[in-house]
Structure formats: structure tokens, C-alpha cells
């Protein structure tokens, strides 16, 4: 106990110091932490860590911050970032089972690898420069190769397809970036308590990375103060979403697995981060469970909510909130301590089944065709079961329609023929004007910029499926443009499908929405889903054979230059004259030989030679030669034989 007190003393001092400073300024910097746990229908558990750090508008915060990470504020000031989001993701979000129509999935289901977008507050001409500098800064900050987004072939400037309408927006993604602890550690460094205390202490690396999905996100936005002389405030939102599989011993397949925080993460929460304004743990139960109890007035019924025939919570929730289809249990972890760690557990007693709400259309994307020459990209939109129930249908001209935006970047080596765009709705080919409401195309330039396609589709509400296909040619890269492991193929980044008329929000009808997590859920967010990354096999040279290449090139060079020099330097008339004079002077034998050769070619008997001696000489020469060869060969064979014998 004494040691405990001793360990707390410095923290207390620090806290009181910070509080003093905080009260000194006009508006305090705030930090809050939250963890949302949610059992998923496919026997997995989603854990969503949410940290929010607010720096209020002040004229001082360029130099000094109490809680807010300096690195980020410097970033914002240096590159005048208005809004930015960076995400590192591993694994795929399962839209079918994990939902696609709640704020959690629309914000945290990210494409594989790194995704970065930013809006700048600089003149139009400087946006690209700022973007390039920003990528380098982030690259250093997060130990990732975000600097590859600097190249103009890897990012694009979406106009309206991305959801945020701004001409100062830049978007880029790196599908092949591997995400690991080296990216998590710098991300954790931005938190005031790092992963030493509070909820973030749960982030045991092996258990976090063992999950089926892992997405770490950093979102920052500046808030204009509106006051003269004051700078802008910054809101930094850091989230980590993991989907874990609780270890289960039961063999029953329809039974949801029971879990606790310690079984999921291998750690327990021992107290909150003292610098956090609020630190809560939420447990969201979806589907059928929410409908059961309409009233939470009485104590018994409230008790029934967390200890009933279906399931059992190990701790009593501090509050219970209701939404149309889900229940939210709120736990305050301030009370927990070393001796009494916070270890929330959920035990299922009965098999239960529910389904998540899905986006109106489920998107898949795939490659078509075969061979190394041409191909096609197809995006298939399929109606989900929950499509009819969703709000957000737009009725125009007496027709009920669903709007879908498609935003897609094409690398330049995928040369898309935009005129081959075909749209099929319910297996019927449609002309462009029927369903295509808006389209924006910026074609790619070889080795300079990537292509971009933004489309707004207006599909009838009763649509079952829609398919979009577009053909492309595969380009050739220069030998030094191939990345390492070029034979794997090349990635086409995920397409973004968003539904502009659908907004996801979870309103828990809490008047005093103090929690930043809940208020972020309350905000209406655009329903969006990312498609798969595609792998295009391109023609690759045989990198493992540089020797062959060198040899062939050298041979070609030698042949080319040799014959060229021959043509340029040779004077044939001169040579002939020289040879003639030589022939006049020299040997009788040469002429003889040549005539013999020509005679042989014509297949006629050899002319009787004018003198016998050259022929005799030549035959003698040849027999002598043969004798010599035999002698040398015999010697060699003997040498070989005796040398190996010894």
C-alpha cells in the first residue's frame, strides 16, 4: 500500500500542477478516453478504443501545450491542415457480419494498408506542395512509408465523390503497406498516458495484432475560433478498432462465446488515465436484445438488463442507455484500482442470434479477363436484406431511388478506357443517362498522374443488383519503376462506395452527451464502404537473369557497331585493287583452292591441276593435321586417365 501511495504521489503532484495551469488559461485542453465493446454476430468481439484530445483556440498553443501532442499541433500549423485522416489497417472489414450502417463501421471500416486524406487551408497553388511535405512529415512520425504518397502518380484530388466537397482535398492510399507495432507505438506516444495507464494499457501487442481486423486511425480537424487574434483549435481523434476472437472451450457452434477483458487482451484496466476528463467503457449489445425491455425505470428491471436468462455481466453498469435496436451499458472505470481491477466479462447462457444492420448495397469489386494484355474492372453492387428497412430513400419524379457514389483511383499503368463503361441494373444493360447522374473523370497521364473516376449512380429502390464494368489495358513499366517483389502483381487501391442520401447515426437520447464517443456516434455520418484491393498481374521482366540481358545487349551492340563501322570505314574499291595486286604477286595455291571449291559446289570433277605439287601438298597437309589432332587428343586422354588415377 505504501508503494502504491508512493507511486501515486508524483502523478498527483503533476495533476494538481496541470489543473492549476489549465485553470489559468481561458479554456482547458481536454482529453478523454473510451472503450466500446460489442459482440458481433459471428462469435467475435469488436473493441473500439476512442481517444479525443482537444486543444482550444488560443494564441499561445504554438509554443506550449499541456496535454495536446506538440508534434500534431506543429504539423497543423506548418502545413495549415484543415482536416486530416490517417488510417493503418490490417485485415478486411466483414460488412456482412460486422455491419455497415452504423457510425462505427462507416468511420472505422478502412481499406487495407494506409489511407490518408487531408484538406488544406492554403491557396490552391500550394496544396500539392503542402501535401508532399505532409506525407514526409507523417512518414517520419509514424514509421511508415507514407512518403510514397508524395509522388503525383499515387494521389488524387477528388471533387465530390469522396464525400467532402473541397477543391483543396487530396487523397491517397498505399494498399501494400504492412501494419505492425512500429506504427502503433508512435500513435500511442500522442496520448498523454501513452499505454501506461488507463484504457490504453489494455493494448497488449500480441492480442491486438492477433485479431481479425485491426485499424488504427487518426483524425484531426481544426476548429475556427471566429475571434480575431486567436488561432484555431484542434480536435485530435485517435481510434483503434480491433475485432478479436474470444477463445472458447465449448464445442457448441451456435453458442456465443463468453469473454472478459482479461481473456480478450490478457490485461485488466487498473484505473483511468489521470489526465483524462472522462474514461468510460461501453458495452453495446445489438439486435434482438435491445427490443426486449422497454422500460428501465425500476431497479429490478435495470438489474434484469444485465443479469438475465440470456447473458450475465460480471459488473454492474453505471448506466444503461437505449437506442432503437441496441442497448448500451456504461461503466466508469475511475473506481478501479490495482487491488480491484476493472475486468468486465460477458457470459452467454443461451444461444442467441442477431444480425447487424447493413448498408443498402453491398459492394464487391473484381478483375475480369485473362492474359497480360487487357482486362476489365467490375464493381458489383448487391442489395442487402436490410435495404428496404433503411431510411434515406429519395423520391424524385415519383420514382424511389438510391444514390450511390463511386470513387476510384486508377494507377497510370492501368490504362482505363472510360468509353467502355457499362452499367447493368438487374441484368439489363442501361444507357448511361438512365442511371448515371453525375460523372467526373480525370484520365491518367503515363508516369505523371493517376486516373480518377467519380460516379454518382441513381438506382431504383427495388434494385437487386447492379454491375459496372470498365475495360483497361495493362501498361509497361520501365525496368527501374518496378517495386520489389514485382512478380506479385500491382495493386489497384480500394474503391469507395458511399451513399449520399444515407446517414448513419446512433442516438442514445442522452441529454448531457458528455462523452465524445457518444457525441461522435450522434453525428450523422455518411454511409460508406470500401471494396477489396485488386491485384493486377503485369508483365514483368526476368529480374533474376541480368547476365542474359547483359550478354544479349552486348551481342547486339557488337553486331550493330561492327557492321556500322564496316560500312562506314571500308573502301571496297580500294580493297579489290589491293587484292588484285596481291593475287598477281602471290600464290598460285589460293586460286587453285578456290577453283577446287567452286568446282565442288557445282558438283563437277575437279579440273586436272596444272601442277601436281599443290594438291599433293594440301593432302599431305590435311593428313598431317589429322595426325597432329589425334596425337594431341591421345595425349589429353592419357593425361586425364593418369591424373585421375593418382
Amino acid at each position: 500500500m505504501a508503494s502504491l501511495i508512493r507511486s501515486w504521489i508524483p502523478l498527483l503532484i503533476l495533476q494538481s500542477f496541470l489543473v492549476a495551469i489549465a485553470f489559468g488559461s481561458k479554456e482547458a485542453e481536454e482529453f478523454s478516453e473510451a472503450l466500446l465493446l460489442k459482440p458481433l454476430p459471428d462469435r467475435k468481439v469488436l473493441a473500439h478504443f476512442h481517444f479525443e484530445n482537444r486543444a482550444p483556440p488560443s494564441n499561445s498553443h504554438g509554443r506550449h501545450h499541456h496535454l495536446f501532442p506538440k508534434a500534431i499541433s506543429q504539423l497543423v500549423q506548418k502545413f495549415r491542415v484543415k482536416e486530416m485522416e490517417l488510417s493503418f489497417t490490417q485485415g478486411r472489414w466483414n460488412h456482412e457480419h460486422w455491419g455497415g450502417f452504423d457510425p462505427l463501421s462507416s468511420m472505422n471500416a478502412k481499406p487495407v494498408g494506409v489511407e490518408l486524406w487531408a484538406v488544406f487551408d492554403v491557396p490552391q497553388s500550394q496544396v500539392d506542395t503542402s501535401w508532399k511535405n505532409l506525407t514526409h512529415a507523417l512518414s517520419g512520425l509514424f514509421c511508415a512509408s507514407i512518403n510514397f504518397l508524395e509522388s503525383s502518380t499515387s494521389y488524387a484530388a477528388p471533387t465530390w465523390g469522396f464525400g467532402t466537397n473541397s477543391d483543396k482535398l487530396r487523397y491517397g492510399s498505399l494498399p501494400r503497406e504492412a501494419v505492425c507495432t512500429e506504427n502503433l507505438t508512435p500513435w500511442l506516444k500522442l496520448l498523454p498516458c501513452r499505454d501506461k495507464d488507463g484504457i490504453s494499457a489494455l493494448m497488449n501487442r500480441p492480442s491486438v495484432y492477433r485479431g481479425f481486423y485491426h485499424s488504427q486511425r487518426l483524425h484531426l480537424s481544426t476548429v475556427e475560433s471566429g475571434q480575431e487574434g486567436l488561432g484555431s483549435g484542434i480536435v485530435l481523434e485517435q481510434t483503434l478498432t480491433v475485432v478479436l476472437q474470444p477463445e472458447t472451450t465449448s464445442v457448441e457452434t451456435n453458442m456465443q462465446p463468453s469473454w472478459s477483458l482479461s481473456s480478450l487482451f490478457g490485461r485488466k484496466v487498473v484505473g483511468s488515465c489521470v489526465l483524462a476528463k472522462s474514461s468510460n467503457v461501453y458495452l453495446q449489445l445489438e439486435g434482438r436484445l435491445g427490443h426486449e425491455s422497454k422500460n428501465v425505470d425500476t431497479e429490478i428491471e435495470a438489474h434484469k438488463l444485465w443479469k438475465n436468462a440470456d447473458f450475465d455481466l460480471s459488473l454492474k453498469p453505471d448506466r444503461v442507455l437505449r437506442e432503437s435496436s441496441s442497448l448500451l451499458f456504461i461503466f466508469d472505470i475511475d473506481k478501479s484500482s490495482d487491488s480491484e481491477p476493472f475486468d468486465l466479462g460477458l457470459t452467454w447462457k443461451l444461444p442467441s442470434k442477431w444480425s447487424c444492420q447493413q448498408a443498402p448495397l453491398q459492394a464487391t469489386r473484381f478483375l475480369m479477363g485473362s492474359g497480360n494484355e487487357r482486362g476489365a474492372i467490375a464493381i458489383l453492387l448487391k442489395a442487402t436484406e436490410s435495404q428496404e428497412k433503411l431510411p434515406g430513400r429519395v423520391v424524385t419524379d415519383g420514382r424511389c431511388t438510391i444514390k450511390a457514389n463511386i470513387f476510384q483511383i486508377f494507377p497510370w499503368y492501368v490504362k482505363v478506357y472510360y468509353h467502355t463503361l457499362q452499367i447493368f441494373v438487374d441484368q439489363q444493360q442501361k444507357t448511361d443517362c438512365e442511371v448515371l447522374k453525375k460523372i467526373n473523370v480525370s484520365p491518367s497521364t503515363d508516369k505523371v498522374s493517376s486516373g480518377m473516376l467519380e460516379m454518382m449512380l441513381e438506382l431504383p429502390c427495388e434494385v437487386k443488383s447492379a454491375a459496372i464494368s470498365i475495360e483497361y489495358d495493362k501498361g509497361f513499366l520501365h525496368i527501374d519503376e518496378y517495386p520489389p517483389d514485382a512478380n506479385q502483381g500491382f495493386d489497384i487501391p480500394s474503391a469507395l462506395i458511399s451513399f449520399p442520401s444515407h446517414h448513419a447515426s446512433l442516438d442514445f437520447q442522452e441529454e448531457l452527451s458528455k462523452s465524445p464517443l457518444l457525441s461522435s456516434f450522434k453525428e450523422k455520418s455518411l454511409v460508406r464502404s470500401y471494396t477489396e484491393v485488386l491485384l493486377v498481374p503485369l508483365t514483368t521482366p526476368d529480374f533474376s537473369m541480368p547476365y542474359n540481358v547483359i550478354t544479349i545487349t552486348c551481342t547486339i551492340f557488337a553486331l550493330y557497331f561492327g557492321s556500322l563501322l564496316n560500312v562506314l570505314r571500308r573502301r571496297i574499291g580500294e580493297e579489290e585493287r589491293f587484292l588484285k595486286s596481291q593475287a598477281g604477286k602471290k600464290t598460285f595455291g589460293l586460286k587453285q583452292l578456290l577453283s577446287r571449291l567452286t568446282a565442288k559446289i557445282r558438283g563437277r570433277p575437279i579440273e586436272p591441276p596444272s601442277s601436281d605439287s599443290p594438291a599433293a601438298q594440301s593432302s599431305f597437309l590435311s593428313s598431317k593435321l589429322i595426325f597432329k589432332i589425334i596425337l594431341v587428343a591421345g595425349a589429353a586422354a592419357a593425361w586425364q586417365y593418369f591424373s585421375t588415377d593418382n
Partner: protein
């Protein structure tokens, strides 16, 4: 004699002014030398070519894993008894169901689908139409996308495939590995069901492992209409779906519209079949790799399977071989000679270890012959061939257990070992970061662990073909001279155009070959049902009448035309040989094995053929022998004859009367598989054979 002498002197003078005094370059000298002695060299080269082919089994190298990332067998197998019991249960369920129910339904497919979804896989069903591609001359070389859905699909016959996809837990979904088990849901035997058991066992494991980086697709292909067709239909749907409405989707109670799922670019595919009982003591694993037009999967894939099967699971691995060659005495004698030479070389220098025992030589050559034959035929040896059209490396594994299918105790062990083999292979492919590219694509197998790479086996072909240009050149020189002598007016101005008449004839016959190649398409369009033999008779009659028309219309084309119009046979032979040379070289790029076998037949024929009339007139033994040889070679060279001989060689019975029908069926299969061998026979072999016939009956 006097005129000849004067002629010579004139020529001598002519050349004396020009190039005679300049010593030709060595390379030109060499060329002149080779051309001058072309008869000797052509015999030497051809003999060397045949010898090089015979010596190939000696030159075979041991296979090795070229790609380091594969690491076969380095991980411990994670298969447990639970997985095996899952697989066994699936087999038992299917057998029970099949015992109690009869009929056409899709209940067995649903049973498998239920098993897959219990394992946690995404399941879907796919309907396909059993009718495959029709021959269309214009679509011959086009890719698989040219497949179009038939407009009026009848619901009377269609197959239903089941496929399940296991998503790699932490993978990015860019790549996938495909497992295929063909199963006849109606008539499938007990052995076939065992393949479902092995894959089911494996699937149960793969559904819970965490090391997957590529998605796994398990396709249970409905092999009611053959093994190949369902896989090809599935691949077509995977790679080039038609988004348009299809009548097929409405057939039956099963709704498959918009249910098709995909899992990225395929890295490799394994087709597993269980058939028959092994004759040996061990379980036997046969590997089939040849895809259409002699394309082979990357050698590393075969290596991995072979390594795991031999060194880890104790299977007896074999590849197909020509059994009749094993007992042939002439090959045995050659093998013994090679063995003796090898031993002699070994005594001279202990480092020279190229000699192999006669038995090994026989095995190697029988396997090599089969490998060459299947590549040359250009027809895939199994369902894996469908994958090659999409640049996916795939092989078929045919497992024969050593126990009867109803033995429960052995079955457990068999499932375990089969699944372990597949698990190891999948794990290796899963390790791959890049697609297969390290090892060979062009090779011939002489045993599962020995191969001959392209650099070695092309020597035989190069030697065979090398004599052709030499002989063509020397014949041309001879022919020009003969023409100069025979014609009264000295056509010195058009000396270089001597070959034009002959070329016309060669071109006409090649054109005829092209028409004959395309004829079957039109014969197929003839309304009414015709038996294959009727069709072949139709084809034969049209072709021969066409040939007569060709001979009649084009002057100087026919061997029976009068002497005045006829070209010099030497020039004709020279142009024929050039055409054969070009044809063979082109074919060697498309399908090497076809070119190799074609060269073996065509080169001796082209070299040896000479007009038969002078030979008969001269009555010298040498020329009579030559005439006899060319007659024999020409008889063998006739495509129908060739087909009959190859059937006899591969131990299949010959029915004399239905030969035409069988030949037609065979050709139909060739073009249905888009085999370039068909084009070769029609456009290179047949015209050259006809030209040789023309030379044989040349009235000179």
C-alpha cells in the same frame, strides 16, 4: 561435253571479274562448305537430332525447389483427429443420402454446402450448361472470353457446382488458392467420395488456422458432364461473367442469381481425384500437369507436391508413361548401349557419371514419350487445364488408395495423409509473396523428380531442323543449273526468279491446306444429324475434289501435268523444304512438342523424297531403296495413317472400319480444345506431305 566445258569456262570468266579473287569471309566459307556437302551433313544432323532425342533421359536433371519462399515441409502439420472425423462424417452423410435417395436433385450439393458453411465458409452454388465451346475458325486463338452463353438454354440438363470460400483471417483478399474436387453427384462412386473426405478434412482445418494469407476456395465440381467442363464454366463465371440475364439461372428451384463470390487473383490450383485401387503396396499419387497446347505449370508446384508426397507422406508418386515402350526391345538395346558407354566413360574418368541403368532409361524414355505426346496433342490431361487459360498454375493429383473404399480403419489414415499433403502444399503456396515465376515453365518430365529443361531438349529439334535450309540451298543451286541447261533461251535476266513457279505451287497447296483446315466448321453447319464417320467421309470427298480442282486450275501444280508446264523438281523440293522449315520453326514457338514430333516425321520425308520415275528407270539398287523409303515415309506421314499408328502404339484397339469416324472425333476434340496441333496438321503437315507426294510422282 564440249558445251559443258565452254559453259564452265564462261562462268569461270564471269566470276573471275568479280568476287572470285576476294577471299570470302570465314562465315561465308563455312556456309558454302555446308551447302556443298549438304547430303552428308543432312544425314549427320538428322541422325544427331534423333540421337539427341534418345539421349534425353540421360541428360535429365533432378528437380529442386527454386523459390525459397515455398519452404515445403518446414512447418508441422496441424491436422487433428477432429478434422479427420469431420471429413469422414461428410463422406458418410453423402453415402447415406445417396443410398436412401435417388434422383436429379441438388440435395447432395446442399449437403456439401451445409458442411462448408458450418465450417465458417461462404458458400454459393453455380449452375452451368454442359455444352462447351463450339469450333469457330475465327475464335481459334482468342482467349477464353469468347465463350458466349447460348441463347436458348434448355433446363433439361445443367450441372450445379458448389464452392466455399474461407477468407484468410488477416489477409488482404488479393489472392486465393483453389482446391477442386470433381464429384459426380448422381453416379459418383465410393472412391470419388473419398476425395471429398480428404478435402473436407483439410477444409475443417483451414477454417480455423490463423496462418492463411490467401483465401481458400474449395470447388466441388459437378462432374456429371465430364471433369473439365464444370471447372471451365466456373472459371469463366469467375473471370468473365456475363452481367446480362441468363435463362439458366431460372432453371430448377435453386436460385443462384447474384450469389457468385470471388476471392481475388488465383495463385495456384490443385485438383484432387481419387480413383481406383492402387496396384502397388503404397498409396499411389499420379501427377498430371499438361494443359492446352503443351503449356505446363511452373515446375516448382510439381516439385512441392512431389517432395511432400515422397518425403513426408510416403506416397508412391508417378507421372504418366507409355507402357508399351517399357517392353520394347529396341529401346532396351539402346538403353544397354548407353549404359555400356556410361560405364566406359566412368572407368575413364570417375567424374563422368552420365550413365544410367537400362531400367531407368526405359522408365525415363517411356515417361518422356508420354510427356512429349501429351504436350504435342495440346489437349489438357485433366481439369487443371482450364486454369492455364487464365495463367493460373494448376495440377491434377490422382490418388489411388491401397484399400477398398469401405474400409473404415484405413480410411482415417488415408484422409489424414491426403489432407496433410494438401495442407503442406497449400502452406507452401500460401508462403509465396510473388506468383510462381522462379522455376521452369518449359520442361519435359522423365520422372516425377527428374526433368529436362528447354535448353537441353531444343537441341534435338535444332539439329533435326538445321539440315533443312542447307539442303534447300543446295537443291536450289542444282535446280537453277538444271533449268539453265534445259531451257533453250538463256533466261539470265530472270535467274533469281526460278523459284517463282515452284513457290506458286507450294502456295497453292498451303492455301488448299488452309481450306481443308476450315472445312470441318462448315461440315458441322450442315443441317441434320450425321455420324462422325459420315462427316469424315464428307470431309474426305470435299477435300479430294478440292485437291483435284486445285490441280486442274493452277497450271504446273499437278504432278500429272505434262512436262512442259512442270517445274523442275529440285527447285520444287527446295521451296517445299523451305516452307516446311518455316512451318516447323513457327510451330516450335507455339508448341514445342508438336514441332519436335512433326520434325521427326517431316524432316526425313522431305529430305529423302525424290521422283520415283527416274529411280524405276535406272533400276539401281540405291535409287530403288531411296524410292522405297520415301514411299514408306509418305505412307506413314498421311495424317490418318499417323493417327492409326499412334493409337496402336498407345495400346488402343483399332477398328478398321470406324477409323474415319474415330479420326474425325479425334480432330473434333483437337479443335474443341483449341489445340494448335490441329492447325499444324492442316496448314503445315498436310501441304508438305502433298508436296512431297507431288515430288514423288514428278514426271522428270
Amino acid at each position: 561435253m564440249a558445251t559443258e566445258k565452254r559453259d564452265k569456262e564462261e562462268e569461270e570468266v564471269k566470276t573471275d571479274d568479280g568476287s572470285l579473287k576476294i577471299k570470302p569471309r570465314p562465315i561465308v566459307q563455312l556456309g558454302i562448305f555446308l551447302v556443298a556437302h549438304s547430303p552428308v551433313f543432312s544425314v549427320v544432323f538428322s541422325a544427331a537430332g534423333v540421337l539427341a532425342l534418345l539421349i534425353l533421359p540421360l541428360l535429365a536433371k533432378n528437380t529442386y525447389i527454386s523459390e525459397n519462399a515455398l519452404m515445403p515441409g518446414s512447418a508441422r502439420s496441424m491436422l487433428s483427429n477432429r478434422d479427420v472425423s469431420d471429413g469422414s462424417k461428410l463422406v458418410k452423410d453423402i453415402k447415406n443420402y445417396r443410398l436412401n435417395h435417388e434422383g436429379q436433385g441438388v440435395e447432395v450439393q446442399k449437403l456439401i454446402g451445409k458442411y462448408m458453411s458450418e465450417m465458417g465458409a461462404e458458400v454459393y452454388y453455380q449452375k452451368f450448361h454442359p455444352e462447351g465451346n463450339q469450333f469457330h475458325p475465327l475464335h481459334f486463338f482468342s482467349g477464353p472470353d469468347s465463350y458466349t452463353l447460348l441463347d436458348n438454354v434448355s433446363c433439361a440438363s445443367y450441372g450445379v457446382n458448389v464452392a466455399g470460400i474461407i477468407r484468410a483471417p488477416r489477409g488482404d483478399g488479393k489472392e486465393s488458392i483453389v482446391l477442386v474436387t470433381p464429384y459426380d453427384f448422381i453416379n459418383g462412386g465410393d472412391y470419388e467420395a473419398l476425395s471429398l473426405g480428404i478435402t473436407g478434412t483439410l477444409f475443417s482445418l483451414l477454417a480455423r488456422v490463423t496462418w492463411l494469407s490467401k483465401d481458400i476456395i474449395w470447388l466441388v465440381a459437378d462432374s456429371r458432364y465430364g471433369d473439365y467442363r464444370p471447372v471451365a464454366a466456373w472459371l469463366t463465371e469467375y473471370h468473365s461473367p456475363s452481367f446480362k440475364d441468363s435463362d439458366l439461372l431460372k432453371c430448377g428451384e435453386l436460385n443462384t442469381a447474384d450469389k457468385f463470390r470471388r476471392a481475388g487473383t488465383m495463385a495456384a490450383a490443385l485438383v484432387l481425384k481419387v480413383d481406383g485401387r492402387s496396384e502397388r503396396f503404397e498409396d499411389t499419387l499420379s501427377i498430371y500437369a499438361e494443359a492446352s497446347n503443351g503449356q505446363m505449370p511452373n515446375l516448382d508446384l510439381i516439385n512441392v507436391v512431389n517432395y511432400l508426397a515422397v518425403h513426408r507422406q510416403g506416397f508412391y508418386v508417378k507421372v504418366e508413361k507409355v507402357v508399351s515402350l517399357l517392353s520394347s526391345s529396341w529401346l532396351k538395346i539402346i538403353g544397354e548401349i548407353f549404359e555400356a558407354v556410361g560405364k566406359l566413360a566412368h572407368t575413364l574418368n570417375p567424374d563422368w557419371n552420365f550413365g544410367i541403368p537400362t531400367a531407368d532409361y526405359l522408365e525415363g524414355s517411356a515417361t518422356l514419350a508420354s510427356s512429349l505426346y501429351s504436350q504435342a496433342l495440346g489437349i489438357p490431361t485433366g481439369p487443371h487445364g482450364a486454369f492455364r487459360d487464365y495463367q493460373v498454375d494448376a495440377i491434377t493429383l490422382k490418388v489411388s488408395p491401397r484399400f477398398p473404399p469401405d474400409s473404415k480403419t484405413r480410411q482415417h489414415d488415408f484422409f489424414l495423409r491426403g489432407a496433410k499433403l494438401l495442407e503442406g502444399t497449400i502452406r507452401s503456396v500460401n508462403n509465396l509473396l510473388e506468383k510462381f515465376h522462379q522455376s521452369f515453365f518449359l520442361y519435359l518430365l522423365t520422372s516425377p523428380s527428374k526433368f529436362i529443361s528447354v535448353g537441353v531438349y531444343m537441341i534435338a529439334f535444332a539439329l533435326l531442323v538445321a539440315s533443312l535450309p542447307m539442303v534447300a540451298a543446295s537443291l536450289y543451286i542444282d535446280g537453277c543449273k538444271a533449268l539453265n541447261n534445259s531451257t533453250l533461251n538463256p533466261a539470265g535476266n530472270f535467274k533469281s526468279w526460278k523459284w517463282l513457279d515452284a513457290a506458286k505451287q507450294v502456295f497453292a497447296l498451303h492455301l488448299f491446306g488452309l481450306i481443308v483446315t476450315l472445312l470441318p466448321y462448315f461440315i458441322c453447319q450442315v443441317p441434320g444429324q450425321h455420324s462422325p464417320s459420315n462427316r469424315s467421309i464428307m470431309w474426305g470427298t470435299t477435300s479430294s475434289s478440292l485437291l483435284l480442282i486445285t490441280f486442274a486450275t493452277i497450271p504446273g501444280c499437278s504432278p500429272f501435268s505434262s512436262r512442259r508446264h512442270g517445274t523442275n523438281w529440285a527447285v520444287l523440293k527446295s521451296v517445299t523444304i523451305s516452307a516446311a522449315f518455316i512451318g516447323l520453326c513457327l510451330m516450335s514457338i507455339i508448341n514445342f512438342a508438336t514441332a519436335e514430333i512433326g520434325a521427326l516425321l517431316l524432316v526425313p520425308t522431305c529430305l529423302i523424297v525424290q521422283p520415283i520415275k527416274p529411280a524405276l528407270r535406272s533400276r539401281r539398287i540405291k535409287s530403288l531403296l531411296g524410292a522405297f523409303c520415301s514411299m514408306v515415309l509418305l505412307t506413314i506421314g498421311f495424317p490418318v495413317m499417323l493417327f492409326a499408328i499412334s493409337k496402336g502404339l498407345f495400346g488402343e484397339g483399332l477398328v478398321g472400319l470406324s477409323l474415319g469416324g474415330e479420326f474425325w472425333t479425334w480432330l473434333e476434340s483437337l479443335w474443341a480444345w483449341k489445340s494448335a496441333t490441329y492447325l499444324y496438321i492442316g496448314m503445315v503437315h498436310l501441304p508438305c506431305w502433298l508436296l512431297c507426294l507431288c515430288i514423288l510422282f514428278h514426271p522428270s
